[in-house]
Amino acid sequence: MSSPPLRFFTFAAPSRFYSLSGRLLPWLWGAAALVAAIGLYLGFFVAPTDAQQGESYRIIFIHVPAAWMSMVVYLAMAAWAAIGWIFNARMASMLARALAPSGLVFTLIALATGSFWGKPAWGTWWVWDARLTSELILLFLYLGYIALVEAIDDVRRADHAGALLAIVGAVNVPVIYFSVRWWNTLHQGATITMSAAPKMQSTMLVAMLLLTFAFWAYAFAVVFVRTRAIVLEREHDAQWVRGLALSARGPS
């Protein structure tokens, strides 16, 4: 393709990101669907019933991956936003903005599935255990970031203000988690915990890891789609966008 050697910042140009991500997308969607199918098959048809929790434990196949993704995406968002701020790299900032809604969705999934998982065990739709409560606070952190960047009209100010907020949030996450664990052990006598994950048989573990990978591939796919949208929105005056637009076969 291009003869000049690829350097680290080669794909920092929006045009290159747009074309590269476009080529990767079908593979990402395909990988997500395929691996999810395999993982779910293993999870439902091969993994055995849990002795203590019966069939309800099968919720962990989506609850745990979603919770992991919600954390990872927040850190990725903060990291890309920081890079965009420190190096004035527009592409990095666009990526950060695109990551936020996905992180929010994963957090919602983690909270909803956590709630459904806890209901048979606890009889209530919500349990103020340390992990779920921390997940709830992560939801607030996402909402705060999204609210802030959406409220600022100037794109550059929005990106950089969001970066600062995301960094402060990321630094605070361990403190928040520690304080919530502290709070949880204080007020109850016995520690309230969610249904603990069952002793993981290898099939259960494999299924969960496969679904984690599937979520990961899905996250890449949907974040890339969103980033491409943001690139087109922001760079619509650029030559390469004009060229792309004029060669597109009409509104699809």
């Binding site: 919720i59 999934i109 599935t113 459904f116 796919a221 949208a229 929105e233 004029l246 597109a248």
Partner: protein, 62 residues
């Protein structure tokens, strides 16, 4: 294989509501998110197309 019949599968040992509720909500959230993202990209492309055509046709000096 774990399940004797389809109805056993859907019942999930009595936890059907919770298990399928979870998977249902997850599928719904993911579906909506993907649809919204794709729609956003499509709209952005349409806007870019209109703008590019307008600029080309009108020969607007910039």
């Amino acid at each position: 294989m774990n399940w004797g019949s389809a109805s056993e599968f859907f019942a999930m040992g009595g936890y059907g509501v919770y298990v399928w509720g979870s998977y249902g909500i997850t599928a719904a959230l993911i579906g909506v998110e993907a649809w919204l993202a794709l729609r956003r990209r499509r709209r952005a492309l349409n806007t870019a197309v209109s703008a590019a055509r307008a600029a080309a046709a009108g020969e607007v000096p910039r």
